[in-house]
């Protein structure tokens, strides 16, 4: 029991890898066993994370369940884990979505062992990013999450998978280069990689040199390296073009995780690293970030509206929704310390969660229809509501969640972001309403072309209704969307305290 209490985070973090290793020893031919084993392996961290959540104290300051062990003592890097409200929500999101994604990939029949292995590895990579309190560890897990995704796209993807996978890996690796550079610069200058120490040391540094460069330059370089790396991952306009390609070509479950969790890594990087480490620079450049966020909202929505490919449409919707996260973060950086900043941050974090749920659901539903029709072209559907009434209802529900219908999850977070950003970036917020309008437009366009209208005779009687397994995948997402929309307080309770502390800590540097 002691082990469980003292090393809960380590257990959560590494059980997927252990599961993945166990998978390797199972016979490759017995696909059923592999699937269920992978599902079981992904459910263990889920159970553990529920325990973590139950024992998490939302009113406490700072990080909880901290674990610390020397790792690379020579360069002052340690195995340092801990959770606060933001990372707890992200961990919960990850452990909820991964089993569902595994369940959703029960239709994969090629090289199941490798597929499930990569998936579990991916889960550890994502969890590691959310749990690390050490910059170097953060970077390591950041990269760990990258590689399995590349293989998932390149091996199990659609027709243009090679282009998409290469674009994905090159783009994110490009960002990672800067991240690595900045990590090393910080490590050399500050003499430690420990984030809790860096939060105290790094923003205060303003003297000294590195390789003959003045500290201001060093910090500016490191700041921009961080920002670009995270901006690519989020993705912020105009770094977004990898996303539609990657999403479209990735297998269904890959898209679910990509949209549900991987995009959050970038936003989480902004919250965990950029804001606390660079309060001054963040405030200085917040306007640019807000502008990019608003552009992401507008062009994401417009891009989605212009698509004829269902999956690509949903992919663009991710850009649109993540734009709100960026806008919220920018507002928090600019209005540091104020009530506006706290509200905006609350909205941004909640939006990360809600978008994770709705986007994963949407991608799954696209996958469901794709498996039946083998097409994603919206013009080839039509009138499917009559053929698949349950699917139609579920799609309607999830699409409305994605649209931000009040009563479902997306609305609360979008309102909070708008409320937080309005006094800070009035124009950007007002313009982002164009995006919000087109959110409605593209969602309705998709619903109209898939569900409504005269039945395309091609599909008459050929489309079976959603199976029980598919229902089990989507049901938790729907329930969570509804609960978060009706009663968001339970999530905001956890988030609110942490973001207030972040905002307060930032304001101390002014």
């Amino acid at each position: 029991m002691d082990l469980l209490t003292n090393h809960l985070l380590t257990l959560i973090l590494f059980t997927p890898v252990v599961g993945a290793v166990v998978l390797l020893f199972l016979p490759a031919k017995n696909i059923r066993v592999l699937r269920w084993a992978a599902l079981a392996a992904s459910l263990v961290p889920f159970g553990l994370a529920l325990g973590l959540w139950a024992r998490f104290d939302p009113s406490a300051e700072g990080f909880q369940f901290v674990e610390m062990m020397p790792w690379y003592p020579a360069i002052q890097s340690s195995y340092h884990l801990g959770v606060d409200g933001i990372s707890l929500m992200m961990v919960l999101l990850t452990v909820v979505l991964t089993p569902l994604a595994v369940l959703a990939s029960f239709t994969v029949t090629e090289r199941v062992k490798a597929y499930m292995f990569l998936f579990l590895l991916l889960e550890t990579g994502m969890l590691g990013v959310f749990l690390s309190l050490d910059l170097l560890l953060f970077f390591v897990f950041w990269e760990v999450g990258l590689v399995p995704m590349y293989f998932l796209i390149a091996q199990w993807g659609g027709t243009r998978r090679n282009y998409a996978a290469l674009k994905f890996i090159l783009y994110t690796m490009g960002g990672s280069l800067g991240l690595l550079l900045a990590t090393q610069m910080i490590g050399v200058v500050a003499g430690t990689f420990d984030l809790t120490e860096l939060f105290q040391i790094w923003p205060a540094l303003n003297s000294g040199t590195l390789l003959g460069l003045p500290m201001a330059t060093v910090k500016a370089v490191a700041f921009w390296a961080f920002v670009i790396a995270f901006a690519i991952k989020v993705p912020v306009w105009p770094f977004h073009t990898w996303l539609p390609d990657a999403h479209t070509e990735a297998p269904t479950a890959g898209s679910m995780i990509l949209a549900g969790v991987l995009l959050k890594l970038g936003a989480y990087g902004f919250l965990r690293l950029v804001l606390p480490l660079y309060p001054l620079e963040s405030k200085l450049f917040a306007g640019w970030l807000a502008a990019l966020g608003a552009l992401a909202i507008i062009f994401g929505a417009l891009g989605a509206f212009g698509q004829k490919d269902f999956k690509r449409l949903v992919a663009y919707s991710s850009i649109n929704h993540m734009g709100f996260v960026v806008l919220g973060i920018a507002a928090a950086a600019a209005a540091v310390g104020s009530q506006d900043a706290v509200i905006a941050l609350n909205g941004a974090v909640l939006q990360m969660v809600t978008h994770g749920l709705s986007a994963a659901g949407m991608f799954f539903l696209v996958g469901v229809i794709y498996e039946r029709t083998h097409t994603r072209d919206l013009t080839e559907f039509g009138g499917l509501f009559a053929q698949m009434p349950v699917y139609g209802g579920v799609l309607l529900f999830t699409a409305m969640g994605s649209l931000g219908l009040p009563g479902l999850a997306g609305f609360v977070s979008e309102f909070l972001v708008v409320r937080g950003a309005w006094p800070v970036f009035t124009l950007a917020t007002a313009l982002s309403m164009i995006g919000l309008f087109f959110t409605g437009a593209y969602i309705l366009k998709a619903l109209k072309m898939v569900l409504h209208g005269p039945l395309n005779e091609r599909w008459k009687g050929k489309l079976p209704e959603m199976s029980l397994r598919e229902g089990i995948v989507i049901a938790p997402l729907m329930v969570l969307m509804l609960i978060l929309g009706v009663w968001p307080a339970w999530a905001l309770d956890v988030i609110n305290r942490t973001v207030s502390m972040i905002s307060l800590a930032m304001s101390l540097w002014f």
Partner: protein
């Protein structure tokens, strides 16, 4: 029972009914409608209890019911955003008519969707029922068939009812917005109820998106209001003079407005969308694609009324800085202009429509414009009054038209004549075939046109006209009077074409009265359409004033912090409203009294191209289609997708990739080949290396022993060197 809790519970039964129908009972038609109607009945009961409790309370506006029970909904920073319920005089009267109309429409829907009839021969989910063949005494004949998605309909209207009740009882703008959007969703789903019809599908999308334009502004207004006041609670903002004064005095960064003005206009934009005011009116006529009970409930009695309710609710904010007389605030001016323009504009279109429901749709837009204009000139109570009376008589008219359509469909099925059962040109003479429908429709029609003294519409319309006149806004008065004239005219035209004269088609001759489950609600609503006006007879009305206390004025007027000047009364508006109502009715009857089958509209000749313009609704749909819709398609498909993303951004990326390749090529062709290869010569380095490479590649034989040998040789050599140079030395 605890009153606070009871108010909380009002919206719940329909929500539970919705969930139960969707999850469990959607296979059983009887169970589904029982659940839905039962839930609506419970809500109705609770609403009546609350309403009559509210009526009995002293100083209700200052101390609304239900404010003691609040919950922390969003923890934010150190505080929390609270939500709760409240019933003040305004919500009480709204609650009254909402509960009644909702219940009536629920009951009516059972009949409208042909409950108890056989399933159709070729009916499919997503299309209106086409009728079924039944064998009676050996030979088949066609009867109406039951709606295939019967249960779904009741689930959706239950959800809608939940939204409407929530909107009325809530105590803050955020929950109002939520209910508002839930209703928007239901509206979308119900307009597109027969989703397999392309016209219904497009109308649904159009309705949702058009109202969403307004909602976006409203969201901004909400954010701004929340920022400025730190709350969205009605009592804390609208009943709080210091907050209103602060908002009115601080300048907003836009157009020189005060914050009150800016927020007021932004919130009013929500009303423009929801209540289909000019220029966002285009969705409402198309919304008639939905089943008729939907048109009655959502697009006449409740949801579009919610838009006006919002404006009435926020009237203190909109009019902040207005002293009850003199110049209007910019926000009020906006309301007055938009309302007046809409009232006249929609009324003119209604004159030239032939679809019985479309006439009513434009009439609704026009009447909503009336209310907005009334608010704009400060006639707060009159606006609220007209809202209530209009809800009753317009619901009545829509249900009546549904009954007419039903009767006509019966005739169509009977005679196999392929005509549009909604086209008034094919009707006529239905008075004798459908007496209950005729008399109730007549009551509604007269109320709509403001037939003097006996109908509710007269009293409320008269109050608006006198409000506009007495406030000194003559232009508003003139426009509204013109609109009233047109209203009376097209109402008379509708009644004449539909019920009077001779049948103009075989189907009309064989039309039959609807079942009691449909006509009973008509009678109930007709009762309110007549009597609802008697609670608001102005004191200064010649003859009748003072006979009955002007209860409505006292009850709802209590809400206002600043009262408009209602002191000096004039006979001008009274005479005007008498003249326009009676004159319009008479003119309409006279023009249309003798229209024959196949004859063109009598107005077509004298009006000429104007008639075509009206019939085509001023070409607004075409205008929007050619500009807004095409532009947004171009922006998304061509500009964003093709040019920006695939062209510029991916172009730059591919450019970088190409540049990398090009650089490699340049280095090879420009440096490696000439300089290294030719200059240093193939023989010296490159040649040597190539030879070496060719030689060494031979050693990669794949043979293990050779590898071992080479490894060993290397180790040996290295050890020897180390030994001789380090150990020996």
């Amino acid at each position: 029972m605890n009153m606070d809790l009871l108010i909380w519970l009002i919206p719940l039964p329909p929500l539970l009914a919705f969930a139960a129908i969707v999850l469990f009972t959607n296979r059983s038609k009887a169970l589904s409608h029982s659940l839905a109607i039962g839930a609506a009945g419970l809500s109705w009961l609770a609403s009546m209890v609350v309403f009559f409790t509210a009526v009995g309370r002293e100083e209700l506006a200052k101390h609304p019911l239900g404010v003691d029970l609040k919950v922390n909904w969003l923890p934010l920073g150190d505080g929390a955003f609270k939500i709760g319920v409240q019933v003040d005089p305004l919500s009480a009267v709204i609650l009254f008519f909402v509960a009644w109309t909702v219940l009536m429409i629920f009951v009516y829907s059972v009949g409208y969707h042909n409950f108890g009839q056989p399933a159709g021969d070729h009916d499919k989910p997503g299309l209106p029922p086409h009728g079924a063949t039944v064998k009676v005494k050996g030979h088949g004949h066609q009867v109406p068939s039951v709606e295939p998605m019967y249960s779904r309909f009741f689930a959706m209207i239950s959800l809608f009812a939940f939204g409407m009740f929530l909107l009325v009882v809530t105590d803050n703008l955020l929950t109002l917005y939520m209910a508002w959007e839930i209703m928007g969703l239901c509206s979308y789903l119900l307009i597109g109820f027969w989703y397999a019809k392309p016209s219904a599908r497009d109308a649904a999308v159009k309705a949702f998106l058009t109202t969403r334009v307004g909602d976006m502004f409203m969201l901004l207004g909400m954010a701004a209001l929340y920022k400025m006041t730190g709350t969205l609670n009605y009592q804390e903002i609208l009943a709080n003079p210091t907050v209103l004064e602060m908002l009115a005095s601080q300048a907003a960064p836009v157009l020189g407005l005060s914050w009150a003005g800016l927020i007021g206009i932004l919130i009013f934009m929500g009303t423009v969308g929801k209540s289909a005011q000019f220029p966002l009116h285009v969705w409402l006529p198309d919304a008639m694609e939905g089943p008729t009970p939907v048109s009655a409930m959502i697009h006449a009695a409740t949801m579009v009324s919610a838009g006006v309710y919002l404006s009435i609710r926020f009237f203190p904010l909109i009019s902040a800085g207005w002293d009850g007389g003199g110049a209007l605030t910019p926000a009020m001016m906006t309301l007055a202009v938009v309302g007046a323009v809409t009232a006249l504009f929609a009324a003119t279109i209604a004159v030239a429509q032939n679809d019985i429901k479309r006439v009513l749709a434009y009439s609704t837009i026009s009447q909503l414009g009336y209310m907005i204009a009334a608010l704009g000139v400060g006639a707060y109570v009159a606006a609220a009054f007209h809202l209530v009376t209009h809800a009753f008589f317009k619901a009545l008219l829509f249900l009546g038209s549904g009954s007419v359509i039903h009767g006509m469909e019966h005739g169509v099925l009977h005679t196999h004549q392929h005509i549009d059962p909604q086209d008034m040109q094919h009707m006529g003479g239905l008075r004798k075939k459908m007496p209950v429908t005729f008399w109730t429709f007549l009551a509604g029609g007269l109320a709509l046109s403001g037939f003097p003294l006996v109908t509710a519409g007269f009293w409320s319309k008269d109050e608006i006209l006198s409000g506009a006149f007495n406030g000194g806004h003559v232009w508003v008065f003139v426009i509204l009077a013109l609109a009233a004239l047109l209203t009376a005219f097209y109402t008379a035209r509708q009644i004449t074409l539909t019920f009077l004269g001779q049948a103009r088609s075989e189907a009309a001759e064989h039309a039959s009265e609807s079942r009691a489950v449909m006509t009973a609600p008509l009678v109930v609503l007709a009762f309110f359409a007549i009597t609802a006006g008697w609670v608001g007879i102005p004191k200064a009305f010649p003859g009748l004033g003072g006979l009955v206390p002007n209860w409505f004025e006292e009850f709802v007027g209590e809400m206002l912090l600043v009262h408009g000047e209602a002191a000096h009364h004039s006979l001008v508006p009274l005479i005007t409203s008498l003249v326009v109502a009676l004159g319009g009715l008479a003119l309409g009857w006279w023009v249309y009294r003798d229209v024959r089958a196949g004859q063109k509209d009598p107005l077509q000749k004298p009006l000429g191209p104007v008639y075509t313009l009206l019939q085509n609704k001023y070409y607004f749909d075409e205008l929007y289609g050619a500009t807004v819709v095409r532009f947004s398609r171009w922006v998304s498909e061509v500009f964003t997708d093709r040019w920006l993303d695939r062209g510029v951004i991916d172009g730059i990326l591919h450019g970088i990739a190409a540049a990398g390749l090009w650089l490699g090529g340049v280095l090879r062709n420009g440096f490696d080949l000439p300089v290294i290869n030719r200059f240093l010569g193939d023989t010296v380095v490159a040649g040597g290396t190539r030879k070496l490479g060719a030689e060494t590649s031979k050693i990669q034989t794949g043979r293990l022993q050779q590898y071992m040998l080479m490894g060993l040789a290397v180790v040996l050599a290295a050890s020897a060197i180390i030994y001789f140079f380090f150990v020996m030395a």
